[in-house]
Subunit: 393 residues, 3 copies
């Protein structure tokens, strides 16, 4: 703990009152601090120390897509700090753009500390919706409507999934011993076959957008036609150069796995399909959506050999690359007939993927703490000294 606090004190962190919307808007020091604070909170948790920093206050959640994992992580993180989650349910309260967003953002925020938003269905809209909410909050705070300006955490949008990628990064830090140790490590972010279409792009974009910051050799692999957002790919290239790593895009899962230290095989929809889907969803064109689904599934079906299996795993570094997944995975013979990964491979790494996920509540709590408090090291130090028990006496 003291070691973590010492590291934290040395970082020039600039996260106070800044929303966490994209990892690449944060400095590398900010990202390091986010991991350290998450580790410190985990340490306090494991030592039965209370981390309740809020005596009262709400954490609003707005899920525009179904979620179990992120929902529970967000609720757990809020609860850990003393905030009560209140869901802004759009079925119960119609929300759209313009004045409605501006007004609703203020109406739910009078006693609110944090707002977590998932909005990953509509390409070109999710992240900009979060910014629209943020501007409404800026305005309300400036005008004296709000006593505090609630912070926003992106719980997955059309562009990035920072709570996932940061949990993934913390998992890598733990597995490989340090962020420094990740330098030169090869990670294969690979498309994988799934019998479903329309999976968001935010995970692969988030991974290449984050891992290229730490000097890793990042290989993005997908069949032709399964491109990510061009801006995200350019960014990954640029960042890899700055960090002394490398970035390449190839069209072969086999090649990507060759000698990889880490593999992240996961399905997604091509961004141009997602764009068409967004238009059809907005037009409520049911027929068009069904046709697009058929087209998407037919496309996918050409690439059933993009499956993470024992043979491909054997070609990785010493045959024992770390397998990663944001869960749930499409497991061949388990959750579907043919999927992203064989049961044999998944079962071998199942517990590892659970551990990968287990960091998320602490990562989200860290983002909240860093947003709310200007002096995180001091705050954590005081929690560590107080040692009010989390459970019992």
């Amino acid at each position: 703990m003291e070691n973590l606090l010492k590291q934290l004190e040395q970082l020039p962190v600039a996260m106070h009152q800044k929303d966490f919307l994209l990892t690449w808007e944060k400095s590398t020091d900010d990202l390091k601090a986010t991991l350290i604070v998450a580790e410190a909170l985990k340490h306090l948790y494991e030592n039965n120390a209370s981390t309740r920093l809020f005596d009262s206050g709400l954490a609003v959640s707005l899920f525009r897509d179904n979620s179990t994992r992120t929902r529970f992580s967000y609720v757990s993180a809020s609860n850990l700090l003393g905030l009560e989650v209140q869901d802004l349910d759009e079925k119960k309260s119609q929300i759209s753009h313009g004045e409605t967003v501006r007004e609703t953002a203020n109406m739910v925020s009078f006693l609110t500390q944090m707002i977590g938003i998932r909005d990953d269905m509509y390409l070109g809209y999710g992240n900009s919706y979060m910014r629209e909410v943020g501007e409404a909050l800026d305005d309300g705070y400036k005008e004296g409507v709000l006593h505090q300006r609630p912070g926003i955490v992106n719980l997955q949008c059309d562009i990035d999934h920072p709570t996932q990628s940061m949990s993934d990064l913390l998992h890598l830090k733990k597995v490989f011993g340090s962020l420094e140790n990740l330098k030169g490590k090869k990670i294969a972010m690979s498309w994988a076959y799934s019998p479903s279409y329309g999976k968001p792009l935010s995970v692969p974009q988030g991974i290449i957008g984050l891992m290229t910051r730490f000097g890793m050799d990042v290989t993005l692999a997908h069949p032709e036609g399964y491109q990510l957002l061009p801006d995200c790919v350019s960014l990954a290239e640029k960042q890899s150069q700055e960090s002394g790593g490398s970035f390449q895009t190839i069209n072969s899962m086999e090649e990507a796995f060759q000698n990889a230290d880490i593999v992240y095989p996961k399905s997604w929809a091509p961004y141009h399909i997602m764009e068409r889907r967004t238009d059809l969803l907005k037009a409520q064109d049911e027929k068009g959506l069904k046709e697009l689904e058929q087209e998407g599934l037919a496309n996918n079906a050409q690439f059933k050999n993009w499956e993470c299996d024992a043979t491909k795993m054997a070609s990785t570094k010493e045959g024992k690359a770390l397998y990663m997944h944001c869960l749930p995975a499409d497991i061949t013979g388990v959750s579907c007939a043919e999927g992203e990964v064989t049961n044999e491979v998944f079962e071998k790494y199942r517990i590892e993927t659970y551990k990968e996920a287990s960091y998320k509540p602490f990562v989200i709590a860290s983002m909240m703490l860093l947003n709310r408090f200007a002096n995180p090291a001091e705050i954590l130090s005081q929690l560590n000294q107080n040692k009010r028990p989390r459970v019992g006496f």
Copy 2:
């Protein structure tokens, strides 16, 4: 704070263990106390003092109509005092009248401190439903089933909307400096055009039922045929005489706005339409409901000139009356083609309407505190002295 506590001590308050169902059932001292306690809680909040008076306990919410604003205000108020909200969802648990109400009221109340109810759809039923719940709780408490008799807060019924009107009153107190300053001020509660029908009567009824208590000159304006409940109108007349103010009903928005200090232009459905609607809803007569909607919309359409615009605003006192609205407003060209208010006027007062709404969590918390504690001044004084931090150390 000390000034507020001194004022509070001098008021003969009789709110302990009394439900807050209609403002006109409360003494003027009770209403003054409600505002003062709300201001004190707001002061403590702004000074980062915890106002957590409950270590555990539930605040049940029962929304028989959709709600974002009031829902969040209720949740915020409960959380501020340390109560956890649990929603009694009628979709998940069928609730009706008679034994079911009596039983359910007790079953959800074993460890419950407060129950907030919104029931504004059915004319003649909402408020009486709250009383039915209250009688069941009286019975359960008297018979030893319940350790405490939970208090009820009316979160909007068919007759009154006290958490709204009391927030509006607190806004006026702040804008005009004191309740005393409201004497002789002219407030125009005016119907306004909206392209929707079936809007509840509780806001205009609540406003004329409350503002006539404080010596204001209250003008109710609506087209012929858009009458409020006759009992509410009679009450407003009677109260205005008692308080030394005045009350009149007229059929012209223009006239109502003349020289007004405050304008509250808002749409509602005539009470006789709401009565027919209630019968049709109970009979589940879909066809009848559609026909009634057509009739209601056609009626409304005759009065599109009942719009709050810059010209009408210019005729108010010095051209700068305070514009009020419970939100969301139907804004011409923003939320609808033609509505209650022009965008120009709304935009000018937008922040003011947000501030008007911002009092609601504190007003509800005040109603809760006054219901639960016999000695509010002492309780607030102790919170003020303890100064346990609300956030951080």
Copy 3:
């Protein structure tokens, strides 16, 4: 309180970190301890003492069937101890068996202390589902995924309804003065007519499975064809012999009521109907389900005289047996035309049934406390000494 703690200290309790799934898996000492801890928590509650043992932590609820009473009891119990309930809504997050259960159980449990599950619709599946969740949690804890292994409380399954039957037992303990006093008392668990079919078997099974542990004379009465699960009936026989009580099954409500000290008239569906219903539900055979419903209702209609009325009550011990029900009862002329009980009888015992229900939050809190803490007497003693106020100062 001291008396309760003394009794508790003398019991060799083995409930720490053990799920509460069936009362007959618990030792009689465990059951006694559960009642004592519930009474102690109730005592602390009534003396305005905080029983908040958790500074943070989640209590997950998973309701696979509608519920008001048990839902509120679970929320109240969790809140009483300082845990925040988060509902795992299967509509929001698809859950099934196999890897999905294993994974979801871990994903919702990173910061979770307790999981409450209601799964009573599918005969042969509910209880085994809870065990599947439990195994997943064992695995996650053992593998280091989870920092704590959350405890599971059965909130009603296809076999037992332990939170109900234990609340019923606590009610009997209070009414008759002690568990010892229950020896030799005659309880009639009787089927009763209801104009609905498909009511779960868990209440009658839970009652005969629990009351036969305490030396009572348990009579199970139902029309021919309305058998409970054979295993549950055999168990009741065996247990009654061990405890020095008796158990018999008869086909007459009148005979069952003769000289009874306690009557529990309640409708249920025959287990073979429930088995067919389970198959049809799994096959989503709507037509088959409708036909089965007609068959079930027609069967029920032959036994409308199985109604708890004043005449039958008059034949009980001194004409004043205690009437029990888990609520809601089907009351003739109130909730249905012809039902389980006449309004006259129900009204006489209405308050008693509410009190019977009022123990449930404390029973559930007791199950949680005994699951989480190895030293319940010490914990309760400390709460009693601290006397941090639950409400106010």
